[in-house]
């Protein structure tokens, strides 16, 4: 079969099993768009901004586990995609981004819409390729998917000069079944001795903790983690990226840890004598002050990326480089074979201690307020969707409340930008999720500032019929920024609010959707029910929440886990600094 480069690209994507590409046309990719026009296997989703394409592909990838695919033109199309590529990179999301490039002969001449995409994206991709020869195109695409999806996943950019896709140059096409790169070997075998040593340490614990992260979700190891955790009877905490890896409603789950984690999770980490970190990377939002991190603990660390081990926390007693799923299976087998059992008495005392910390009720908030409490909205969302929705979020306080009050029992339900913290992520990500699961409830929890960063994708949602529900926790503040200014800058609210906020109801309507404004607590539940009952409409719920509510608990910068700021008094917060 002889095909042009553009046809080869499309056929390769089809052979790779790609359902959707998220893209936006332009000069350098016109040959490719012409090929898209003439095939049906791969569906193209036309976004309204290339950043939206990357986040939508990313949301699709996070919800399905399959790589997201993006197509952008050279120059501004490519640079617009960079934020989304970096977002995927920080959270290890598999993604393949095809960018158009100016024709090979003019590369380097400051040609129209030329930008060095390979150079610009180098620090925020797992790998990137510049295609120089059309006969290597299919193989390069295969390599891109292989690298993006194996080992520690990540985004891969394939930059394709326009002449490579020219319709008049036909070459034989064959999509390779397998590729290998001599310089890349993602498979790792774990030594039995490491497993044994880990089990021995685990069973010697008096105050054990399981600290599991996004790696469990990425490695599809939730059921193994659950079995492992139940077998031991140890307390478990999840990172923001790990939420759903272990059922949040289970009694062994002590909540999220870290900056906005629960009191019990952070105190237990601090007091623990043996911690097993599973697919988690000791991020600074998690560790707080490094010198004070888990002072009494011996740490076992399982990670597929050797560079994650001893990167921030140096004192790792037992490093295990490997894929979390087989490693957890091996650990469980070894545990079952072991004559030694967990120290029952010590564990009982440990759980008593943890229950005392739980009794502090660090997530409690003022339920008698006349104002709409954002936490209440998320609780209602949880109830109305029966805890079974896909929830995407933007970045800010609303993100933390969604993480704290929506109890994720399944992996891949909680979809947010943790590592880069990209405002604008939520709406396009929700569109990607809805395309993957058209029958599922998809909610985007957002804030009035974040939603405006990719609001244009409301138009995409109409065209491609992705009826998502936007839950806008409208506090008329960049709440997360305002909170830091309240705590650390004596309430000098420098540019953390907008004097003009659009009428989101009208805006939603202008885009062809349903908009509902909610001002009173008692309206929240009915509005949510109404929104989710409208199965085929995108609904924008603009919810006026308490302006000055803060996210608690909080570990402030430079503090340790045992040094948390709790909600001081449960009382109605006033508009103290606004009056």
């Amino acid at each position: 079969m002889e095909l042009s480069g553009a046809q080869i690209l499309l056929q390769s994507l089809a052979d790779e099993g790609v359902e959707y590409i998220f893209g936006y046309p332009g000069g350098a990719v016109l040959h490719i768009y012409d090929a898209i026009f003439q095939q049906e296997a791969v569906k193209h989703i036309l976004v309204r901004h290339e950043q939206g394409a990357t986040h939508a592909a990313d949301g699709y990838a996070r919800a399905t586990g399959k790589p997201g695919v993006v197509l952008v033109t050279s120059g501004p199309g490519a640079t617009n995609a960079v934020t989304g590529i970096a977002t995927a990179y920080m959270d290890s999301i598999p993604m393949v981004v095809i960018s158009g490039q100016v024709s090979s002969p003019v590369i380097g001449s400051d040609a129209f819409q030329e930008v060095d995409m390979v150079g610009i994206t180098r620090p925020c991709v797992k790998h990137n390729f510049l295609v120089k020869d059309v006969t290597k195109l299919a193989e390069t695409i295969k390599k891109a998917f292989y690298v993006a999806t194996t080992g520690r996943p990540g985004p891969v950019v394939v930059d394709i000069p326009k002449d490579i896709t020219a319709p008049n140059i036909l070459v034989p096409y064959k999509y390779p079944k397998k590729v290998s790169l001599r310089s890349y070997n993602p498979v790792v075998n774990v030594a039995k001795e490491q497993i044994k040593a880990a089990v021995e340490l685990l069973l010697s614990a008096n105050k054990p903790m399981i600290y599991a992260g996004g790696g469990v979700v990425l490695g599809e190891a939730s059921s193994e983690l659950t079995e492992f955790t139940r077998h031991l009877g140890y307390p478990i905490t999840n990172t923001l990226m790990g939420l759903g890896a272990y059922p949040a409603t289970d009694k062994q789950f002590v909540g999220m840890l870290g900056m906005h984690g629960t009191y019990e999770a952070n105190m237990a980490m601090h007091e623990s004598d043996v911690i097993i970190a599973i697919g988690a990377r000791f991020d600074d939002r998690v560790t707080g002050k490094l010198d004070e991190f888990c002072p009494y603990a011996k740490i076992i660390h399982i990670d597929i990326d050797p560079a994650s081990i001893s990167k921030t926390i140096k004192k790792i007693a037992i490093p295990i480089v490997g894929d979390v799923k087989p490693v957890l299976k091996q650990l469980l087998e070894c545990l079952k074979d072991s004559k030694k059992k967990p120290n029952k008495k010590a564990l009982e005392t440990w759980w008593q201690q943890i229950d005392e910390w739980r009794a502090v009720q660090s997530l409690e908030y003022d339920r008698s307020s006349d104002l709409i409490k954002p936490q209440f909205v998320i609780e209602q969302l949880y109830q109305v969707t029966k805890g079974d929705a896909y929830v995407t979020s933007d970045v800010g306080q609303h993100q933390m409340w969604a993480a704290q009050y929506y109890h994720f029992d399944k992996p891949r339900r909680w979809i947010n930008s943790g590592g880069l913290g990209t405002m604008g992520f939520g709406l396009p990500a929700a569109i990607g999720v809805k395309l993957a699961f058209p029958d599922a409830d998809v909610a985007c929890v957002t804030g009035e500032a974040s939603i405006q960063m990719c609001i244009q994708e409301l138009s995409t949602a109409l065209q491609f019929k992705t009826p998502v529900k936007i839950i806008n926790l409208n506090n008329r503040y960049m709440g997360m920024v305002r909170q830091w200014q309240e705590f650390s800058y004596e309430c000098r609210y420098s540019h953390s609010y907008m004097d003009t906020i659009p009428d989101f109801v009208k805006l939603a309507e202008a885009y062809g959707h349903v908009g509902i404004r909610i001002d009173k607590p008692e309206e929240v539940r009915p509005a949510l029910e109404q929104a989710f009952a409208m199965k085929d409409r995108t609904v924008f719920l603009d919810i006026m929440t308490d302006r000055t509510e803060n996210v608690y608990p909080m570990i402030e910068a430079g503090k340790g886990h045992h040094d948390m700021k709790l909600r001081v008094a449960l009382g109605t917060s006033t508009d103290r600094e606004l009056a």
Partner: protein
């Protein structure tokens, strides 16, 4: 401590910038970097001299290994090895200083490559420390310019860094 990291890397456009970019992005320092093709034209060999605590060097080698283009690497400091660097120095000479300079060059086993009435170009190879010692032994004012290749290295014994 000083580490000499020897890297086999795909001989592709951009491979060098991936390594250099990694160092600047992560704030590691590069004391010197040399790179050239090997007997296998699809591979380049890179020698990178860096300094840092054990923790930092461990992260550097892990991060380098993570680069898809990097095929293999070793830290030469881990085992007996030979280190060589090439230096060329241009030195002002006068009737009076010429003999002295020549004898220092002899002591350091250097060679004189170019002579004019007022200058010498001296070639010298050795460990970076030896080259430092030579420049220290020559009066600073007489040095016109110095060009150094950066260190390269190879391990002793029959083991080698190859595919």
């Amino acid at each position: 401590m000083k580490h000499i990291i020897s890297i086999l890397i795909e001989n592709e456009a951009g491979a060098l910038s991936r390594v250099a970019g990694l160092f600047s992005a992560r704030g590691y320092n590069i004391e010197s970097l040399t790179v050239a093709a090997t007997e296998d034209p699809s591979l380049s060999r890179m020698t990178l001299v860096t300094r840092g605590s054990e923790d930092v060097i461990a992260q550097i080698t892990k991060q380098l290994n993570k680069l898809i283009d990097v095929v293999k690497l070793i830290d030469l400091a881990d085992s007996p090895h030979i280190e060589r660097e090439l230096m060329m120095v241009k030195i002002k000479t006068t009737e009076q200083t010429r003999n002295d300079i020549r004898s220092v060059v002899d002591i350091f086993r250097g060679r004189i490559l170019d002579v004019t009435p007022n200058s010498y170009v001296i070639e010298m190879t050795g460990s970076s420390e030896k080259l430092d010692a030579f420049t220290a032994a020559i009066s600073h004012d007489s040095i016109i310019e110095v060009v150094r290749s950066g260190a390269t290295g190879i391990s002793r014994g029959e083991q080698g860094l190859h595919l």
